[in-house]
């Protein structure tokens, strides 16, 4: 066991955080990610000229509430969010020189679909998937997360990137919006 002495320190440091992670995952929804207000997750897969983005956010961060709309004001907010999420190029801007075009958009959310949403724990999420097709894959080196301007309540974006250079995790904030890989 002596081999792992320094790593045991690492493990000791890491365990509380991971145990916490387990707790958040819960058992009701097998792969439900952590639901922390103000924080969203972004998954980025780069494969040649194809760029796949998947945004998973608590509705609170992008909408302000997590239940089905109850009045006209909330209905208007939902309609506005639908419109915002539909225009993926305004939320995420890949390297300009790469000439990326939004090819496919998919938005999944019970609340936005008019269903009661908000599971037993009273929380609701939205998932938006975007696929870009890029004309110059060599020049595709990163993206700017512009969605912080659209969603002022979003304080943190935890990003996982998978590209030809490997896998990495990054964190973006309203003050640090540039992601490179």
């Amino acid at each position: 066991m002596k081999r792992s002495a320094p790593l045991l320190l690492a493990l000791a440091l890491a365990m509380p955080a991971l145990a916490h992670d387990d707790h958040k995952h819960g058992h009701k929804h097998p792969h439900q990610h952590a639901h922390v207000h103000g924080q969203a997750e972004l998954k980025v897969a780069v494969d040649g000229g194809r760029l796949d983005l998947r945004l998973e956010s608590p509705l609170e961060a992008v909408l302000g509430f997590e239940h089905a709309p109850r009045n006209d004001k909330e209905r208007a907010a939902v309609a506005s969010l639908r419109k915002t999420l539909a225009v993926g190029e305004q939320l995420f801007a890949p390297t300009t020189a790469a000439g990326c075009k939004l090819a496919e958009t998919r938005v999944i959310s019970d609340v936005l679909d008019g269903k009661p949403g908000a599971g037993e724990d009273g929380h609701g999420d939205v998932v938006a998937e975007y696929r870009f097709a890029c004309a110059q894959p060599d020049k595709l080196t990163g993206l700017e997360a512009r969605l912080f301007s659209n969603f002022p309540k979003l304080r943190r974006l935890d990003v996982q990137v998978v590209s030809g250079k490997g896998q990495t995790a990054r964190r973006l904030t309203p003050r640090m919006r540039l992601l490179s890989w």
Partner: protein, 420 residues
């Protein structure tokens, strides 16, 4: 000024003990700073190298980091196993290009034994996506055959054809032996600089076979199945520790991760090894920061000592400086002389520190690799180390301005006849 230099060198030589000790302090602090930077960088590179070709590591649901550290780096504690049926279903998924099942738990003289399939030698990648190469022999084909990592073969002096026995469980002496079923060494892998070097590889069926007459971690009394007969039994493994997965398309990795998390027959998880490592480094960032701060403080202490020694010598050297002035040295020459003395000691300390760090890495590298599996490289300093060196030099030069300025003021005030 040019005429001053030989005199300045002689003056410094006259004070060689105090200056020498100061130089030693600066050297040691620079060695510490550079050594920590090297360790940090090499630890990150080493971990990243070991998982370069794997898209996902699949295991029983639990802590992602624990699964990764145990299955890929053979560190920390064992995690739960996943059923062989799940591993087979995973391999059959249309998005999956290849899978490598891994089963850990046994050892041989402190080195871990890994049960796997021939896919390991075909698909496993390390470093810059390099495949595994054989230094001698070939992959295992028969049941009781073992392929050794480079370090196992070198440290234990094994060659192809050697017969060895495995121990049940991990760690140290006094483990029960699988003595009745010895293995023949059929292959030795070329060095990789990853945990592969410290691993013994056998087939999953062989791992099953040596545990046929075992139960609950001990041989079943009175039951002994000789090696010739094990083939009559079903040697399909019941479970494995983890499965390394390579995908046909990178774009599918997150969808595959969700697919695994939603797997109905048992709770599973799929870990992106690179992402999990990034998260580990982020968690360790605080500890790294503390180490860096401590080494930076050591450098600051070394430089403070340097300034103190030069300043203290100033009082003894007022007569010397007055003589220099009498011989035509201007006050700014005096300033330069003192500032350069401090700067030169800093520069020498930085260079000696770099040399000492390199000597230490070369000298201790093999031991560190054997004990901790960490490969230290003694090559040209990386950007992090160059920044650190630059910072030390800048700080040393700035700090040396202080004695220079004091000498300048004194030489103006004292003129030719210092009152001591």
């Amino acid at each position: 000024m040019r005429a001053l230099l030989p005199l300045a060198l002689k003056s410094a030589w006259n004070r060689r003990y105090s200056l020498g000790l100061t130089l030693l302090a600066v050297t040691l602090s620079v060695t510490l700073l550079l050594g920590i930077e090297r360790l940090r960088q090499d630890a990150r590179d080493g971990f990243a190298q070991a998982v370069s070709g794997t898209d996902l590591v699949v295991g029983a649901r639990g802590s992602p980091l624990q699964l990764l550290l145990y299955s890929v780096f053979r560190m920390g504690e064992a995690s739960h196993n996943l059923g062989w049926d799940s591993a087979r279903a995973l391999a059959a998924h249309p998005a999956v290009a290849w899978t490598i099942p891994l089963s850990l738990g046994d050892s041989h003289r402190g080195y871990p034994v890994l049960g796997t399939t021939s896919a390991y030698f075909e698909h496993f990648r390390f470093g810059d996506r390099q495949p595994l190469a054989f230094a001698a022999g070939q992959p295992f084909a028969g049941l009781f055959e073992v392929v050794l990592g480079a370090e196992v073969a070198r440290k234990l002096g094994y060659r192809p054809g050697e017969r060895i026995t495995l121990s049940h469980g991990m760690g140290g002496e006094g483990l029960a032996e699988h003595g009745d079923k010895p293995f023949t060494v059929v292959g030795i892998l070329a060095p990789t600089g990853t945990p592969v070097d410290r691993t013994l590889h056998i087939g999953l069926e062989a791992l099953e076979a040596i545990h046929l007459d075992w139960q609950g971690g001990a041989p079943i009394p009175g039951l002994n199945i000789p090696p010739e007969l094990v083939k009559k039994f079903d040697l399909t493994p019941k479970s494995v520790t983890a499965v390394l997965v390579g995908l046909k398309s990178r774009a599918a990795v997150f969808a595959m991760q969700r697919h695994v998390a939603d797997y109905r027959d048992e709770p599973l998880m799929a870990v992106l090894p690179g992402v999990a490592l990034s998260q580990l480094w982020e968690l360790l960032g605080v500890a790294e920061g503390v180490l860096r701060a401590v080494s930076a403080l050591a450098v600051a202490a070394g430089l403070a000592g340097l300034v103190a020694v030069v300043l203290a010598s100033l009082d003894q050297r007022r007569r010397e400086l007055a003589i220099l002035r009498a011989n035509g040295a201007r006050p700014r020459d005096i300033f330069l002389l003192l500032a350069l003395e401090g700067g030169a000691v800093t520069l020498a300390g930085a260079l000696l520190g770099l040399t000492l760090r390199t000597v230490l890495v070369l000298g201790l590298g093999p031991w560190v690799q054997a004990e901790y599996g960490l490969v230290l490289r003694a090559d040209w300093p990386g950007s992090g180390e160059l920044y650190a060196l630059g910072g030390v030099l800048l700080a040393g030069l700035l700090a040396s301005l202080l004695p220079g300025w004091r000498a300048y003021r004194l030489s103006l005030a004292d003129g030719m006849t210092p009152r001591l």
